[in-house]
Amino acid sequence: MDPLLLRGMTTPRTRRNVLKLGGLSAAALALAACGVQGQKQAAPKPDAVKDFWAKQKKNGKVVFANWPEYMPEDQAPLKAFSQASGISYEYKEVIQENAEFFGKSRPVLAAGQSLGYDIVVMTNGVQLQHMIELGYAVPLDHAQLPNFAANAGDKYKQRAYDPGNQYTVPYTSGITGIAYNTDHVKEAPTSIQALFDPKYKGRVGMHSDAQEIGNFGMFAIGVDPEKSTEADWRKAGELLKKQREDGIVRKYYEQNYIDAVSKGDVWLTMGWSGDVFQRQLAGEPVGFVVPQEGGTIWTDNMLIPKGAANPVDALMLMDYLYQPAAAAQLEEYIQYISPVPAVKDILTQKLGTAEGEDKEGLQAMVDSPLIFPTDADYAKLRAYRSLTTAEEQVYNGIFQAITQA
């Protein structure tokens, strides 16, 4: 609070001064009234895409913007790529959250400027959908992605959020299921109803993200989120509201649920597969299940933002990361789910020659259903539902009223 402003407001003012002030504000308002432009784009024609790529050349450098802990610290896969291709790289860990990243990038892209990144990684969800709808993602040239075609698992090719991988290719995936503290919950829960069980009153964690929590509410009422209707959302909302009002939920978490569950602050919580696996390796008392009613699978995707300076180099790097050896290097560090199934064979081979701690870690990875989900798990997994902007407002209204009461 500016004391001068306050003083100004407490001293009597002549009418003329008031008018002057009013005039000033009116001028500023007129300046600002143009608002935020709408820029919805139709899908580009295949010819235009072809023309675009025909004009692009390899520039010998690439800038990769990614999330923290998504690349081994020695950056070995990138170094190997650089040696093999002669392309120098810059690697930046600048993305912490989809909404925030989109919020910061949108004005830049809307102004027709470049973000300065050639590859960015975003989770399938509302913001990625916005990027595509607004024409902020460059359509990919699959003629230049042979490794992707040959090595990516089928489950990672046909995804509803980007049919035919027109704009994105997966970087890594993860499962949202139930993480539980094995000291406090002796028997692994099998049903999602455990999260609603009054016996765990005050010991349950839920995610605060509207899509994540909405999905779990829908699993609990026996609805597949991908095929859900507004009536289902409201019904799921009622159940989640009751769960909160009965005091079962201790907290709605953005990211930090994993410490809470490993310390025993909460005993059961919605959780992500890779987080739990890493804690298990560290010997912490955390378990993970995909409930029988269903869990969600999400994917972090690489895409080329509009205005990227080096699109060809970006495609080359994307494709390189689909070589099984490179994908295995990434997987050993990231410990989520690789889109390249052949990674399992490579890690198994490596296991034969590894020793000591390395061997234990590799063995745990190869054996873990968190890294290589079983077919039974895959059968239970569902994807996020796409939402139109009108639906999104209703959806957010229902579920944010629960997480932000």
Partner: protein
């Protein structure tokens, strides 16, 4: 002529700065707050003042809660901060500078990190409560985090120095001779404090309240880190509306509503304490 213009020219950069980075953004936000649309199709100016009614009716619980948390934290800060400032000002001797430095020392660590470390310390099975529970001194379901108490405590802790410093400055300025004169006239220590020291330090309290109440009410961090399922504050709502939902009009309308409520509140408070002196002190 030149000499008369000089002060204005010197002040010009500040005016341009304020104009470009305060007035224009505020006006733009005021405009956005009455627009309608969505991020895909764009937002258009429709002068829909209904945005305000919608935002306030939908989020009034959080708005009221924020005022109550901010108010409680501010009161706690006065109660804790005044004695500290008094002690440093009158009993600090020649170590005053050291004490003031110690007061500011926590600020060398980021705000968010300090709050998270509180969470770490106070969590159910954390380093403080864990052992107490193991020894049977506390029931096993006792908790501090995820309560209103935790959020208010966090707010109090995070802004306490901004309350202490202005009070300290005003106490420092109290002329010891005035107090001595009161003693000579047979005033008891309580009377001296009540009639001399307290009134003279009120401008400091006022400035402290201004500097702490406003940010405390609007803060999203403490509620997010230390709060539970029923402790969401208005700052959290605004940031979700703006960043997650890209619902700029609602976020802007809510921000302006909050600003209006705070301005009115402070206005009333200023009148109650007597503006003249107080504002001068705050401006110093």
């Amino acid at each position: 002529m030149r000499s008369r213009l000089t002060p204005y020219l010197l002040a010009l950069p500040s005016w341009i700065w304020l104009g470009a980075f305060l007035v224009v953004p505020l006006a733009a936000m005021a405009s956005v707050s009455t627009q309608s649309g969505n991020v895909i199709d764009g937002f258009v100016q429709t002068f829909s003042f209904g945005n305000y009614a919608d935002a306030i009716s939908q989020y009034s619980p959080q708005l009221l809660r924020s005022l109550w948390y901010g108010g409680a934290a501010t009161l706690a800060m006065v109660l804790i901060g005044y004695p500290v400032a008094y002690w440093i000002a009158f009993r600090g001797g020649n170590r005053k500078a050291t004490y003031l430095f110690l007061l500011l020392l926590p600020f060398f660590v980021s705000f968010v990190l300090r709050t998270i470390s509180w969470n770490f310390m106070l969590s159910g099975d954390g380093i403080l409560l864990g052992p107490l529970k193991d020894w049977g001194l506390l029931p096993s379901d006792f908790q501090i985090t995820a309560t209103a108490f935790a959020v208010i405590s966090g707010l109090t802790y995070n802004w306490l120095p901004f309350m202490i410093l202005p009070i300290y400055v005003s106490l420092e300025r109290v002329d010891p001779r005035v107090m001595e004169a009161a003693h000579d006239l047979y005033a008891s220590r309580t009377t001296v404090f009540r009639k001399i020291v307290l009134p003279l330090s009120l401008p400091g309290v006022f400035a402290g309240v201004l500097m702490t109440f406003v940010p405390a009410v609007a803060d999203p961090i403490n509620a997010a880190v230390l709060g539970g399922t029923n402790n969401t504050m208005i700052g959290n709502i605004i940031s979700t509306l703006y960043l997650t939902n890209a619902n700029y009009p609602a976020a802007a309308a809510l921000s302006f509503s909050l600003m209006a409520v705070l301005l009115v509140g402070i206005f009333v408070y200023a009148r109650a304490l007597g503006t003249e002196n107080v504002l001068e002190a705050a401006a110093r």
